[in-house]
Symmetry: C2
Subunit: 463 residues, 2 copies
Amino acid sequence: MTTFSGWNYANHEQSLLNLAADDLSLVTDLYQLTMAACYVGEGIEQRRASFELFTRRLPEGFGYLIAMGLTQALEYLEKLRFTPAQVEALKQTGIFAHAPERFWQLLLEARFTGDVYAVSEGTAVFANEPILRIEAPLWQAQLVETYLLNTINYQTLIATRAARMRDVAGESATLLEFGTRRAFSPQGAVWAARAALAGGFDATSNVFAALQLGMQPSGTMAHALVMALAATEGSEDQAFAAFHRYFPGASLLIDTYDTVAAAARLAEKVNSGELDLAGVRLDSGDLVELSHLVRSHLPGVPIFASGDLDEWEIARLKAAGAEIDGYGLGTKLVTGTPVNGVYKLVEIDDIPVMKQSSGKVTFPGRKQIFRTVVNGKVTADRLGLMDETPENGQPLLEIFMKAGKCIKPQENIGEIRQRTSATVASLPEEVRRIAKPITLHVEISNPLEELIWRTKNRELVTG
Amino acid sequence: MTTFSGWNYANHEQSLLNLAADDLSLVTDLYQLTMAACYVGEGIEQRRASFELFTRRLPEGFGYLIAMGLTQALEYLEKLRFTPAQVEALKQTGIFAHAPERFWQLLLEARFTGDVYAVSEGTAVFANEPILRIEAPLWQAQLVETYLLNTINYQTLIATRAARMRDVAGESATLLEFGTRRAFSPQGAVWAARAALAGGFDATSNVFAALQLGMQPSGTMAHALVMALAATEGSEDQAFAAFHRYFPGASLLIDTYDTVAAAARLAEKVNSGELDLAGVRLDSGDLVELSHLVRSHLPGVPIFASGDLDEWEIARLKAAGAEIDGYGLGTKLVTGTPVNGVYKLVEIDDIPVMKQSSGKVTFPGRKQIFRTVVNGKVTADRLGLMDETPENGQPLLEIFMKAGKCIKPQENIGEIRQRTSATVASLPEEVRRIAKPITLHVEISNPLEELIWRTKNRELVTG
């Protein structure tokens, strides 16, 4: 390990408890900073560069993606700053010993001054379609790559999973996000909650995320409460009674000891009018069988299920006729196969460029997605150039930030959730289904085809 | 969706850019707060409770786990507070309308006053072995569940993956953490970097994480630099020359156009003494074949490989004789199958308790792990009770926090990394290997067996 002595940026060793907004400029890969310094040295740091963020292929088993994370991306760009302490810390690493002195001044004065084009959050996108494009001075556009990918990759994954779960569960089911304990960091948990709500969920148990979004957090109770009250007060029923006294609107968790026996005892109280029960939750066992038994005892009471569920398991439970009104989704919603977005230079100083590495080719030029919708259904997407005159198709990329300033009002989660719902409804059945979906074929426009051919030939000559 | 009007905790809508240290008390599941309020109502909130954090089973294909995340867990506990604004926001949700008024005072005065027992970071643990135990007033021990699980689940996953990669790659290989763009949130990226370093990596590209840990960040260059300089200055070679001028210690990325041709051109400069090349990176193509071709051109130059690598791929490359000196690990290190730790009540007011739900049984009582090591190799782990007199075996759980105060000095990453290395070296080959590992059989001590039997029978009577 390469350590270096004496300097610690925040003057407290190893504290990684949380990140301040100021810290985010350094949440980047070192090479973004070294490349920026190189651009300064070569005098090309102010050249106008366009980078596009897209996925080369969808994660295995996905027919579409729901774009998400733009709100945080824009806020990051607006707030991007380097403090004198951060610049000093970078100098002290020694890594920049041969870098041009002017680089430091550039960092100290750093503001993001570029334009951002993007598809709106909640829009379905496919492989090779740009979710976002940055047009900015080269060094700025380079520097922000890591954060933009981080934000959009993760929120897009969660929104897509949430949209699939909503699609499978149906509009009438209640979908609750319960993933905070399994999410990859507290901030990951908060973003998962946001993206799940925007993707179609009804509520989250994450208190911070819910309050920040102006929503009520949601939750039931844990086995610990039943065990603690049963141990100190005498029985599971006393635990139920106590919790219901303070939270009459909450569901009761009935599987700590014997699920069916607990349901039968609760039914006596419901039938005698002693108890107005808002719901019960099952977290273990055979959910199909148990839900039927519980329903037979408690016919009017909503049944919630949890425990390692995902869109596949929801589909299986529904197909097996389980009597479930709502699902708590955690681990399998907030973790899993990542969305592997990439961020690639497509144009510099009006010169279109493309990467030609084996298996990782990128399309050159500033692009636009043209979507054709007939009778409410998407029939075709065409990937073309930004300045094409579209004979048909609705352009999906819009400008969100001009010269570093947001020019669209921020949407609330309800608006994004509606867009997600509408976009999923517009997809062909084979794209939308979770069993072996067939993703939409994205056509390449003639002008883009010609540009690819010209760029390839030019780069073969000069490469 | 249940929204409620008027109140927004932080007075800025939807800003989820980052979490302040103060925010973390609300990064919890709602039910932790409602259960705490219920405990207050029942007058049992100050009862002494013990909760243990453990996994029921290891993730598929894992033979062991490397415990990680305790440092952040302890810092969280020491700093736990609720601000008046947070308490007000909770009141305004309306959820607590029937909760006892005294709950709010408890929150406003909240401090964590309990004890924490844990295994040291970097220690190998197995299924059902407690990684951490909280002994605290019931309401506090309940409240902190979500954060503790989040922290320890994720960092333990990453440390374990890193330890496996180090074990497969060998001590002489350079392992670099490059996952920030694919991690699940910026904070997830920073924690992944920490856990990877503590698990055996040499460096991270995450600038913030490296600086906070007092280390040099690491990195090479991206295709964008080659493309930008090739487009504006004329060729890939000019891009190499420019970057090397400012960062003579950095490796050059040589696969943007034709990898072998680039290596051959660089070799001319190396052989003529014009260029002192620190390394090259390959990010695409057949790494076995390319590394041989590049080595033949550049015999003395370290070769780094990247591009969706993991411990399996490192093993495959080594078996195929690839000429690779270092690996950049990203996506497959920082995402993937989660560690599903749980946090369960095991004792309250000196009464041992156990959950008996189908398939999710927990062992009662405050436990200790006794590890037997013979000739430097772990031969057995025994799970017993904390107050057992061990005939043999070294107890692994130690006290880290007493009455809310840390009583051990914080370790630096280098120390934790050494413990990881030693613990992996002590594991039997079948536990350690990545192909179909056989995890260690954890014995149950006689006193624990008896306690399980007694608790089951008592709970059957009173349940």
